[in-house]
Amino acid sequence: MSFEVPTDLEKEIDERITHYPVSKRSAVLPVLHALQHHFGFLSEEAVEWTAAKLELEPIKVLEVVTFYPGFRQEAPGKYHIRVCRTLSCAMAGSYELMENICDKTGIDRSGVTHHNPIAVSPDGRFSIEFAECLASCGTGPVCLVEDDFHEAVSDVDSLLSQYP
C-alpha cells in the first residue's frame, strides 16, 4: 500500500502546526491524530512522514505512538468501538456489554493482550477494545463508536445497526 497524504489533509496539518509557534514538536499529537483519522492507523510510513514534517528523528514520533492508548499501529475494523471498563460503567454492566457486542459481531477477544488490545470482527466491519473511564460515569455503560458517543447502552442490535 502506498502512503500518500492528500493535499487537503496536508493543508489541514500545516495549519495545525501553526498553533505551536514556540515548538513544532508540540504538533506531534495533532499530526498523528490527523493521519490516524484518515488512514485508520499509524503505519511506519506515517511515523516517518510525521518525523520529516516536524523535523524530528522518527524515534521521537514512534515513542509517542507506542505510549498513548489512543494511537494504533494496526488497522481497526471499519467502525472502531471503545467500551468503558472502569468502575461505574462496570457496575452498570459494561463487561456484559462487551460480551454482547462480541457475540453479535463474531469478534474473538481471546488473543487480546496489553500491547494488542484491539480485536476485529471476521467481516472487518467492527473492531473493539476496552477503554478507561470516558467521563460519563453517571450514564453507564457507555461506549464510543468512531467519534460517536453512546450512553446507557442496552440494545446492542440497535447500536450496531447504525453502522452498516
Partner: protein
C-alpha cells in the same frame, strides 16, 4: 436567574445552586456566541480588561477559589507563584483531560457552554499575563474539541480573542490540543510534556513547578475547566459576594458527580459544604436502590480513599470536635480531608451491599496498572502487582497472606514516586485493606497458602 427554565426531566434539584452549570440542560440555550452574548456574555472580560492584571488576581485570591481538578489548591495563590522578576512568556493551560474515574462535569461545560470557559480563560490569561493558552482536552471528547474550536473562531470574529482585544492592547490566542487516551496527561507536568509533543512523563517537583518552570520551561498556569469558569463569576459578582456561597476556606459552589448504586446518578452543583453525604445520596440522588444498604463511598474520584458505611469520623477542632457517621459528612474539602479521604475531583462513587469489595478494588487496580506511565519503579511494578494480586483474589486463587503482600506493595508506593499518581494508585488498596480486610480475606483460600499459582489459571478473568 428566575427566568431560567430547564429541559423537562432535567431540572436541577432544589438543593442545587447553579452557577457554572446555569446553562447546562437549559431550555432554549445553545453553545453559540449569539446566545452567550445575549445574556451578558463577555461583559466580564470587558470589565477585567479595564482593571490591572494584579487586581484580577487579587479578586480571585480574596474569593478563596480552590482548584476543582483534584488537589483543591487556591487558584489565586498559584497564580501568585509566577516569579515577579519573570521576563519569559507566560502560558496558561486549561486542563480538560477529565479522566479521574467517577468524574463527569467538564464534559457538559465544554459541550453546552463553551464560551463560559473561553471567557474565564481569557480573564485568567489577562490576570497572569499569558498571550498564548491551550485547552488540553482528552482525545475521547472529539465532539467537545470541535465545539471549542468553533467557539474560539466565533470569539475571534467578535474581537474577544486575537490581537488588541476590545482595544485594550491585550493579545491572546487560545488553541485546542487533543490528548491521546492516557490518564497521566491529567497530571499537570505530564500534561505539559504531552503538550511539548513527548511521552507524558511527569516532571519532578521541585524544581518543575509549572508556575515557575512549565511549558517550554516558562511560567505556566494549569487550571481545571470548572476552576477557570468560576473566575468569570468572581468577576461578575465580586469576590465578596462569591465567597458568601460555600463556607469559609471552602468557598463557592462545585459540581458533584454521583455514579454507582443510587437511583438518580448525575451531576449536581451545590454550595461547597452545604449538603452532607446523606443528603446527597438520599435526597438529591433519590437514595439507594430498593432493598439495598450502603456499603462504601469513594468520595472524590477513584484515587480518593474509600469511606465505609458504619465507621465514625472525627471532624472539627477543639470545642467544635465531634464524631459523625458517613451520612453526616459535609461535602467540602476540609471535612473530607478530616475524614481521611479527599474531595478530589468531585466524583462520588456509591457502592451498595450487592457488590463484592474484592471485585471493586480489582477494577480500580486494573485502571492504575493500565495507566501508570512507568517512570518510577514502585509505581510501575507496584500498580501491576496490586492488579495481579486482586485478579487472583477475584478468581479465588489467592491465599490469605496475599492480602498482607498486597498491603505491603501499596505502602511501598506512595511517597516514593515522581508524581501523585503513586498516591492515587496506592490509596484505594491501602484504604480498602484498612476498612474491608475481612471481606478481602474471606475471598481468599487458606489451602492455597504457600502454593504457587499458575498464571494461566487466573488471568483468564483478568480485565484486559
Amino acid at each position: 436567574m428566575s427566568s431560567v427554565i430547564y429541559k423537562e426531566g432535567r431540572e436541577p434539584h432544589p438543593r442545587e445552586h447553579r452557577v457554572v452549570f446555569k446553562n447546562v440542560d437549559r431550555e432554549g440555550w445553545d453553545p453559540s456566541m449569539e446566545r452567550y452574548v445575549s445574556e451578558g456574555g463577555y461583559d466580564q472580560l470587558k470589565k477585567a480588561l479595564t482593571l490591572k492584571p494584579g487586581e484580577v488576581t487579587d479578586e480571585v485570591k480574596k474569593a478563596g477559589l480552590r482548584g476543582r481538578g483534584g488537589a483543591g489548591f487556591p487558584a489565586g495563590v498559584k497564580w501568585g507563584f509566577i516569579p515577579p522578576t519573570n521576563e519569559k512568556p507566560v502560558y496558561l493551560i486549561c486542563n480538560a483531560d477529565e479522566s479521574e474515574p467517577g468524574t463527569f462535569k467538564d464534559r457538559y461545560i465544554i459541550h453546552q457552554d463553551p464560551h463560559q470557559l473561553i471567557e474565564g480563560m481569557a480573564i485568567s490569561c489577562f490576570a497572569v499575563g499569558a498571550k498564548l493558552a491551550y485547552i488540553y482536552i482528552r482525545e475521547e471528547f472529539p465532539e467537545g474539541a470541535a465545539i471549542l474550536e468553533t467557539a474560539i473562531e466565533e470569539a475571534h470574529k467578535k474581537g474577544f480573542l486575537g490581537k488588541d482585544i476590545q482595544g485594550s492592547g491585550f493579545d491572546l490566542e487560545i488553541y485546542v490540543h487533543r490528548g491521546a487516551g492516557a490518564y497521566i496527561c491529567g497530571e499537570e507536568t505530564g500534561l505539559i510534556e504531552s503538550l511539548e509533543g513527548k511521552r507524558p512523563y511527569p516532571r519532578i517537583k521541585p524544581p518543575y513547578f509549572p508556575a515557575a518552570m512549565g511549558l517550554y520551561l516558562c511560567p505556566t498556569i494549569v487550571n481545571n475547566v470548572e476552576t477557570l469558569c468560576h473566575v468569570k463569576h468572581i468577576m461578575e459578582i465580586g469576590s465578596e459576594a462569591w465567597s458568601q456561597t460555600g463556607k469559609p476556606n471552602n468557598t463557592g459552589t462545585r459540581i458533584l458527580c454521583v455514579s454507582g448504586d443510587v437511583k438518580k446518578p448525575g451531576y449536581y452543583e451545590v454550595q461547597v459544604g452545604h449538603v452532607t453525604m446523606g443528603e446527597l445520596i438520599n435526597d438529591i440522588c433519590g437514595g439507594l436502590k430498593d432493598g439495598r444498604e450502603l456499603k462504601a463511598v469513594i468520595p472524590g474520584g477513584s484515587s480518593a480513599k474509600v469511606l465505609r458505611a458504619g465507621e465514625t469520623f472525627k471532624i472539627g477542632r477543639g470545642d467544635d470536635e465531634k464524631e459523625i457517621s458517613i451520612w453526616d459528612i459535609p461535602m467540602d474539602f476540609d471535612s473530607l480531608a478530616a475524614c481521611g479521604s479527599m474531595a478530589g475531583s468531585g466524583g462520588v462513587i456509591v457502592i451498595d451491599d450487592s457488590r463484592s469489595i474484592s471485585w471493586v478494588l480489582n477494577n480500580i487496580n486494573n485502571f492504575y496498572a493500565h495507566e501508570s506511565c512507568g517512570q518510577c519503579t514502585p509505581c510501575r511494578e507496584g500498580s501491576l502487582w496490586m492488579k495481579k494480586i486482586t485478579d487472583r483474589v477475584v478468581a479465588g486463587k489467592a491465599s490469605p497472606s496475599d492480602i498482607d503482600t498486597l498491603d505491603s506493595v501499596a505502602r511501598n508506593i506512595d511517597g516514593r514516586t515522581i508524581c501523585a499518581f503513586g498516591e492515587a494508585s496506592s490509596w484505594p488498596t491501602e484504604s480498602f485493606i484498612d476498612k474491608f480486610r475481612d471481606e478481602l480475606v474471606a475471598d481468599t483460600n487458606p489451602e492455597l497458602e504457600g502454593v504457587v499459582v499458575n498464571a494461566e489459571t487466573f488471568t483468564a478473568s483478568a480485565n484486559l
